[in-house]
Symmetry: C2
Subunit: 350 residues, 2 copies
């Protein structure tokens, strides 16, 4: 007996797992992973752990910042559309934003793909999207895991999970501790639903309204396929130039929980965010979902980002300067969407 057995018949194959097919799919992925390499990467794909040497010269007290996330039931839309090429970028950008709010820049990323049967072309779409997102954020795709789990996942269903590690110098940690009454809220536009609220969106648009992926919402030239698969934006490019600005007091990434639950995560107790709802244009898709599913306003703002993907809490005397700097990065209609006041309600909508 030796290490290169005849390939068939295979009892494991009969149980639904094809190790050789997994290895072929992995081969197609190696090049994608290599395309994301940054100077810190010391390992090749295939080693047990990924090796990364952070460049810490100049840091007074390096702090690692890490986050885990998924794409939620946006994956169901990807399956419906038979297009898994966009969700990888969603995942990376979501994770990048989650550590960016504490002032951290990404070092490396790892992904996990779970499926009943791993199809090579889907794997390449998934990991291709992850790799593109990593390249765009200057982040190395250091490793990952693919798991074939027959009997657990339905055929053609794919789970996608990501983990990110970044670094921030402790004196530059953005933690909300300097937020005070009078601070202004700068809202950065989202590109749509990003990765939250898809269970409700699917119910409203597909089940209640009876629309499909080729349908268009009135006033929007895009198909629902495009609307619902538009990737989550990364705010790294827009915010990196202002992370060290003393006028920047806090950042909140608007994900599950909406403005309602995410802004309080960075507000000191006794302060209240007052949101001026007329200060930005809520994208059409949110209004359509609300109308079809008859969702109350307060719930819309707790499930969806409503068009604001990131909020910067800034000192009043810095707001104009910071708004201009952020807008210069071209993320769209950046606006003052409210302010901070004393109060017991963490978020109040006007």
């Amino acid at each position: 007996m030796n290490g290169r057995p005849p390939r068939r018949p295979s009892a494991y194959g009969a149980a639904g797992v094809d190790i050789d097919a997994q290895e072929r799919a992995l081969g197609g992925i190696k090049e994608l992973v290599r395309s994301t390499a940054t100077p810190g990467v010391l390992s090749e794909l295939g080693s047990f752990g990924g090796l990364f040497r952070p460049a810490l010269a100049g840091y007074r007290e390096p702090v690692l910042v890490s986050s885990a996330d998924g794409v939620g039931t946006k994956l169901v839309v990807a399956r419906m559309a038979r297009d898994y090429s966009t969700v990888g970028r969603d995942l990376v950008n979501h994770c990048v934003n989650d550590i960016l709010v504490q002032g951290a820049k990404p070092l490396f990323f790892l992904d996990y793909v779970g499926a009943g049967v791993l199809e090579e072309e889907v794997m390449v779409q998934l990991v291709g999207g992850v790799a593109a997102g990593c390249r765009e954020n200057g982040c190395a795709l250091l490793g990952g895991e693919t798991a074939e789990m027959p009997g657990f996942y339905q055929p053609h269903d794919y789970e996608l999970v990501g983990f990110i590690v970044g670094v921030v110098d402790r004196p530059l940690l953005v933690d909300g501790s300097r937020v005070t009454a009078g601070d202004q809220l700068i809202g950065l536009p989202s590109a749509g639903l990003h990765t939250n609220g898809y269970s409700l969106a699917r119910r409203a648009l597909f089940e209640i309204a009876g629309l499909d992926l080729d349908s268009r919402l009135e006033g929007d030239p895009r198909t629902l396929r495009e609307v619902l698969l538009t990737p989550h934006l990364s705010y790294l490019g827009a915010l990196a130039p202002v992370l060290a600005d003393p006028g920047l007091h806090a950042l909140a990434h608007v994900t599950g929980g909406g403005l309602t639950d995410n802004l309080p995560r960075v507000l000191p107790r006794g302060l209240s965010a007052r949101i001026e709802r007329g200060s930005w244009r809520v994208p059409l898709e949110f209004l359509a979902i609300q109308r079809w599913a008859e969702v109350a306003d307060h719930e819309m703002y707790r499930v969806f980002n409503m068009g604001i993907g990131m909020v910067a809490v800034v000192a009043p005397d810095a707001s104009e300067r910071l708004l201009e700097k952020i807008a210069a990065a071209g993320v769209g209609a950046v606006a003052i969407i409210g302010s901070v006041a004393t109060g017991c309600e963490p978020v109040v909508y006007a």
Copy 2:
């Protein structure tokens, strides 16, 4: 409208997602997470990213080592047994071993739980297991994500994914580059299947043999429930004392792919691992699976660990000393299971 809306009725609840129930489950988890805190942890659960300040004094060139993993269809056994208390430890120990083979010790861990409906008691079992595993390995549970994905996961199905970051000083990196012909292979016993081969194991034991979780294999007093849910061992305690020993040339974690695919990952080209199959006792469960599913020997050694969970490749003049040191940690019957020779077949079984 304000940030504390009436709790019902909820359109999102009708779509299958209960944000409040998620938050209650999260409350029960906070204490578990806190129990794993190590001196490097700077953040509380609930911040966007977890903050970790590594203690790098004394390191010449710190290298971060990272790995992502899942538990595979061992989760199906957990569902059958209605017992999710053990798979968290599986996950942590698997990840700890994956970075240990490069000489790294764990710093922190993040988990991801995906489910159709998050049940609080299951979440506490899952995260309780993860937290216990983290404490046992001196690793902080720095954060995680729970995703409720109705329509994607079947009710009572839970996906569990983990991600670890550790550190090694570059001069102490264990990378297999010093492996030469004549090196000895020290095998460390597994506790059973660990987390690999469950699709084939379930097919053999439940579908073909018609056994159930209360069945016992001849000669084994344990029920299959116990056999199949025995956690993956961590080898950190056994190997930490020898990681800096110059006689230690390589480590291979025996996971999916078995000895056949995992040993070659750390062998320089042109060298061949010769495994003496009579040198350890293959646990009964592997023999039962092989018999029921009529699995060829070569496939058994590529799907299962066959009783060897970790292999240390050591210099011949260090083998006795290292074997004694490793055995002293009490992981069971540590043995020389083979040696390294020149040859083109990466693994040869005798």
